[in-house]
Each structure stands twice: as C-alpha cells, then as structure tokens.
C-alpha cells in the first residue's frame, strides 16, 4: 500500500467575525497518498481552494490539523513553514504567475535560487526541467511570448524543479482549451507522477476527471462524496 503523504483532520476555516462570518471549510478530513493524483472538485465557492491552501501551508486553518509526512505543518514557525513549502510543495497556480521580466529558464530556476543554489547552476538544472516539459528551445524567451499551454508547462517545470513530494495544481485547465488541457494532464500523469510524489488538483473541469486516481467532491465547505478510478 502506498504511504501517506497528507492527512487532514477536521479542518475548518472561516472568514470574518460575528454576523459577517462566512464558513469556507467545515470540518473536512481526508488523506492523500504518494503515487496518486487526487482531484478536489466542486462548484465555485465550495471551499476547494481554501482547503488546498490549508494543506499546502499557505492559509492557517481555524481548527484541525494537517500532517504532511507525519509532521503537523501548522505547528511550524513562519520561516520553517516557508522552507517546508520550498522543499516539499510545488505550486502550479491558476494564472501561472510567471515573471514576465525574467526569461522562461529563469522562471523555472526560481525555486532553486530560493534554495540558495548558485545562479548558473540553477539555470543549468532549470534547463533540464524545461527539456522534460519539451520547451528547451524556448528557454531564453520571456513567458509572454509563449502560448497558454506552453506557459502551463513552464509553470509545471518550475513546480517540479525543486523536486517536491507534493504537487498542487489550482484549476490547471481554466485558461486552456480542451485538447491542450487533456495533453497537459496526460503529460502530468505520464511524466510527473511517480511513486514518491502526490499530486493534488483542484478543478471543476469535468473534461479532465479521467486522469484522476481519486476524486473528492466538495460543496458548501464539506466533502460530499468520493470516487475512485474505475
């Protein structure tokens, strides 16, 4: 049986106080294992992005615990948490958040540079990851010169460059057409996923559900169902 990557227990998060309090996530518990692609799906406002933020060390829950590889991440100090994100988590943001003033290869090298690696060495390693996503010939271009699908692949290369154990994708196909979206997910499943990596994807794009090993359905801040790959 695959080992446990994340164990979230009774996670709750609310915003505002008093009458203005809005419950975003209500007592959610789930587990994610290495070697699997887990989808968190649901309509807008169902709490999936809030849940994703809490399990990736970005948003502190009001209650509950998040164990990543058996460590409670919300008991870490802020610098330790930053190190945890840098070393253990790779993010692929919905809008990619690539730096238009840096070249593509420099964008991919960012996590390596943050890890205090030498600049040239970081670029060299980043080039290898660009090769993995098939964009080695685009290395010196600024991201704005790339297509949406290519930018998505650059974001993936940046996310995996620091060799994280857990990859977080936030609405990875939101800005892509159906074909490109499916190609990206096929690529992720074939080349990025491995036995020591857990991939969690937040989406409401049913066209890509076929690439999940497991899908958690959310609504109104609660998990309302779970389905496994057939």
């Amino acid at each position: 049986m695959a080992s446990l990557a994340i164990k979230a227990t009774n996670l709750a998060k609310w915003f505002g106080e008093g009458d203005a309090r809005t419950m975003a996530v209500k007592s959610v518990s789930f587990e994610a294992s290495f070697g699997e692609i887990l989808y968190i799906v649901g309509p807008s406002g169902s709490g999936k992005t809030t849940l994703l933020s809490m399990i990736s060390g970005i948003l502190k829950p009001n209650s509950g615990t998040v164990l990543v590889e058996d460590r409670d991440i919300w008991k870490m100090e802020s610098d330790e948490l930053a190190d945890f994100r840098l070393n253990k988590i790779g993010f692929v943001f919905q809008d990619y958040h690539l730096f238009s003033n840096l070249t593509t290869v420099e964008n991919v090298a960012i996590p390596l540079i943050l890890k205090k690696n030498d600049w040239n060495q970081s670029l060299k390693v980043a080039s290898e990851y660009l090769k993995i996503v098939g964009l080695e010939k685009r290395a010196e271009l600024p991201p704005v010169k790339l297509s949406g699908g290519e930018q998505q692949r650059v974001a993936i290369a940046r996310a995996i460059a620091s060799r994280p154990d857990i990859l977080i994708f936030d609405e990875p196909t939101a800005s892509l057409d159906g074909d490109t979206g499916r190609k990206i997910l096929e690529f992720v499943r074939e080349h990025i996923l491995n036995e020591t990596r857990c991939i969690i994807i937040v989406t409401h794009d049913s066209r890509i559900f076929e690439y999940a090993h497991r899908i958690i359905h959310m609504e109104d801040g609660r998990i309302i169902g779970e389905e496994h790959e057939k």
Binding site: R85, F93, Q94, H97, L102, P111, I113, L114, N117
Partner: protein, 378 residues
C-alpha cells in the same frame, strides 16, 4: 550577486518604463538639490573671498561687522593696542573700500580697493605679471585677473585710469584665488595711497590684520581685543561669521533651503509614487514568491535592493549631471558662482537615502501584508 537579489535586479531593470521613471525622478531630485546647494556654497565662498585671498590668520574688527564689504573703520589706537598684546607677532592695518574708476573710454566702473600696509604689504596677492615693489611707484595699482577684469577693459601693465579724480596706473596683474561675490573688479594699492585717494572717515583702517606668535596665543589675543570693545576672529571664524550673515540674515539661506526641500519633495513624490506603483504591479509576483517559499526577510531584501540600486544610480547620475552643468556654465560664464562641496554631496546623499527609505518602507508594508492565499484566490 546573491541569486534572490539578481531576481530583484532583473525584475527592476527589465521593467524599463518604471525603471526609467524612477531613475529620472531621483536623478532630477539629486540634480536640483546639488545645483541649489552648490550655488549657495559658491555664493558663500565668494562672499568671503577677501578674507581668503588676504590670508591673515586673525582679523580685528568692529563687532557689528558681518561681512567684509561693510567694514566699520577701526581707530588707530586699537592697532597700537593690539600690537602691544602678548602673543602678537605683528599687526597691520588693512583698507577695504569701494570706488568708481573712470576708464580711458570714459566709462565708470565700480571697483573694490584693498589698501595693504605700506611697510609689510601683508596680504599681498601673488603676481602673474609685474613686480610687487612697483606698487610703491607713483599712482601704482595692482589689478586682479579674475572673472571681472574685463569690466576694466582687460588692462595690462601701464594701463592708466582715473580713480576719484586721481590718476592710477596698473603696475602688476595678480592672480585671484577666489573671485568676489558682487562682480566688481579688485585693485590693490598701498594703505596710504588708498586713504589719500579715496574719501574716508576719521578712522581709516577697515581691519587690523594680526599674525599671532603661535596658535596657542589666539585665545589670549581674542580676550585682550574684546576688552578694547572689538572682536578678534581667526580667518575661519570670520568666514563663518560672513556665511552666517548670508545664511540667516539675508533670506538667501532660507530660500536655498526651501528650494532644496522642494527638490526633495519633488524627488520623493516622483520616486515614491513610481516605486509604489512598481510594487503594486509586482505584488502578485511577490505573493507567488512567498507561496513558493521565499521568506519575509528575503522579500524585504529584494525591495531594499531595488530601492537602493535605483537611488544610488540616480544619485550618481544626478551628481554627474549637476557637475556637467556647472562645468559647462563656468566655461561660458567665468562669473558663475557654484561649487560642489563634500557637504553638498553629503546632503544630497542623505536626502536620497531618505527617499529610498520612504519608498521602500511603503513597498515593504504592502509586500509583508500580501498573503500567498490571495494568489490562489486570484
């Protein structure tokens, strides 16, 4: 360069529009600040030109005197009394006054006449033409070759003129260390010729120039002179007194200070606003970096580096531009009174540091508050 600072550098300079606007803002502010303070420094330096050019270690003067050109005559007994003070090696009178010179073409020109002690010629200028002894010749005057000499028709040795209905003859051309403030040519002659050619009051000496036996005698000499109801100042103190007069009693200092403050505010406004816009536009990037794993202090160091780099580059460009303008102006207008001093550069540097500090502070506040969660929310 540290990798994260290199990212900060690239984010800054590759945003060419903002970077240019930032640089222009700081360069312009530094340029204005350096120009204003340099012009003021030039004016102050020229206001004390006689003190500097004469080179006496101590000056005895009426306490009410606050600049060289408005001297109050000192009685002869003061000169004698000063000479008898312990620690005084010698003391000589100096005449300093204004007169009208009638040139050969009939044009009148105001001049400053310095009358040197006949016996010692103490305070005599360095001659570039002629011999200083010729100053004793009949009607002998030495003319200073400064920016104003053209107003006397560029006289050479032997040139004749009229001064207060007396004949004057140029017997030497002197080098000027510092030109005067008011654009008036300077003539040197002997003390006795000065007071006989030019109308004067009952007391004739404008100042008593004192040479102390040693610097340790200076406090005692000052004390003894004050007992006579007069003031003895070292050359530096006299220069400072004149500077203080122009700074605080003429409105000149306040005006320059106001202009410098306005330059600072203009620079701060342009740079602060542009830097803040730059930070706002990059806020998502900083948020993304924070989400990826950058620590708060690393983001702070990025902003400080960006602000510092722009500030120092702008400072260099501003100082360079001001130097270029001053040099060009001096080539075309020898009268132009502006000089860049270490103090001017220091003031501009501190102002730039404040601009960079305030700009970064505003940026840092925003970046520290950005939550990586906002990046997820979009």
């Amino acid at each position: 360069m540290n990798g994260i600072l290199r990212i900060a550098f690239k984010l800054l300079v590759n945003d060419r529009g903002k970077f240019t606007a930032l640089l222009v803002g700081i360069t312009f502010a530094v340029f204005l600040m350096v120009m204003m303070t340099s012009m003021f420094a030039g004016i102050l330096s020229r206001s004390s030109s006689t003190v500097t050019n004469i080179g006496a270690k101590m000056w005895v003067l009426d306490p009410a005197v606050n600049n060289v050109s408005s001297s109050i005559p000192v009685p002869d007994y003061v000169k004698d009394a000063v000479r008898s003070i312990d620690g005084v090696r010698y003391a000589v009178p100096l005449y300093s006054g204004g007169a009208q010179v009638k040139l050969a073409n009939g044009i009148y020109q105001a001049v400053t006449v310095i009358g040197l002690d006949d016996a010692s010629l103490f305070g005599r200028p360095e001659l570039i033409e002629g011999e200083i002894e010729d100053i004793y010749a009949e009607n002998g005057f030495v003319v200073v070759q400064d920016a104003e000499i053209s107003k006397l028709g560029n006289p050479r040795i032997g040139t004749k003129f009229e001064i207060n209905d007396h004949r004057g003859v140029v017997v030497g051309i002197a080098k000027a260390n510092i030109s005067g403030l008011f654009g008036i040519p300077t003539l040197y002659t002997t003390f006795n010729r000065a007071i006989s050619y030019l109308p004067s009051t009952r007391f004739t000496a404008s100042y008593i120039l004192v040479e102390p036996k040693s610097t340790s005698d200076i406090p005692h000499i000052k004390q003894a002179v004050s007992k006579l109801g007069y003031q003895a100042l070292t050359d530096d103190e006299f220069v400072q007194k004149i500077s203080n007069f122009y700074k605080y009693q003429t409105g000149l200092g306040i005006n320059v200070m106001l202009m410098t403050a306005i330059s600072f505010i203009v620079g701060l406004s342009i740079s602060g606003q542009t830097f803040y816009t730059f930070i706002l536009e990059n806020l998502e990037k900083f948020g993304a970096l924070k989400a990826i794993g950058a620590k708060g202090h690393e983001l702070v160091s990025m902003i400080l580096f960006q602000a510092g780099f722009t500030a120092f580059l702008g400072y260099g460009l501003g100082v360079g531009l001001a130097s270029l303008i001053i040099m060009s102006a001096k080539l075309r207008m020898p009268d132009y009174a502006a000089q860049i001093t270490n103090l001017n550069l220091g003031i501009a540097f501190v102002m730039v540091l404040i601009i960079a500090g305030i700009s970064s502070y505003i940026g840092i506040r925003r970046v520290i508050r950005i939550e990586p969660f906002d990046i997820f929310r979009g």
